[in-house]
Amino acid sequence: MNYLINVTAPPSSQTSLSALRFCQALLKKGHNISRVFFYGDGVYNANSLLSPPTDENNMEQLWRDFGGNEQVELVVCIAAAVRRGLLNEEEAKRYNKPASNIQAPFIVSGLGQMIEGAVLADRSLTFS
């Protein structure tokens, strides 16, 4: 089955890890994930400046590794991201900010990606 996964839980929430584990389990069972969409406070998962203690999970890195290794699209809602201070290089330039903090394979795009993903998927799940 084809899944869209929405993540609106921040990295400080256990729910973010649950979402990641669920995604991994889906692939293991032979399902397909068309996209993981980060919305609301979920966009904080894409913050490349997260620096938790080394014996704790770094959710940004875990998601980034997952997206890179499994070739799953990780899309961050641009409107939700910029209002929370999450910018890729292009947006940092656009808003004249001193730094960017979103890196590949995370990509920023609009809410249309969530709608499109939901319409094309067999199942849409939100982890909030």
């Binding site: 929405n6 609106t8 809410l111 249309g112 969530m114 709608i115 499109e116 939901a118 319409v119 849409s124």
Partner: protein
């Protein structure tokens, strides 16, 4: 979006209008769905019913009026807007206090509605 697929999507609004960004962000998502030509419905449940109260004056707490976004829904052809009867009772809100956009539904009829939906989304 090149696909012509059209699905029934109900957005379940269960957050109070101010004090957090969830209410606004869910409405944004619903408007995006409408802009992508999907069959969008909104269902207000729990604390979400507070979004429908008429004469909100959030400028006193330096917030933008969410009810203005609700009035935009009609422009996007979002006509199915429902509010949960029991939640209204729970919050002590009477029908005359509500914005004139939503239809009151009881739990059973909400259950029936949701069964006809392809996608239910909440934040």
């Amino acid at each position: 979006m090149s696909e012509v697929q059209k699905k029934n999507i109900t957005f379940i609004c269960r957050h109070s209008p101010y004090g957090g960004s969830q209410a606004r962000e869910l409405l944004d998502a619903a408007l995006a769905g409408a802009a992508f030509d999907q069959n969008i419905s909104l269902l207000f449940m729990g604390a979400g019913v507070l979004q429908l109260v008429e004469q909100q004056n959030p400028s006193t707490i330096e917030q933008k009026n969410l009810a203005k976004m609700l009035s935009m829904l009609a422009l996007y052809d979002v006509e199915n807007i429902f509010v949960h009867e029991q939640a209204l009772e729970q919050f002590g809100i009477e029908e005359r206090q509500l914005l004139d956009v939503a239809l009151i539904k009881n739990s059973l009829s909400i259950q029936e509605w949701l069964q006809e939906q392809d996608i239910c989304m909440s934040l």
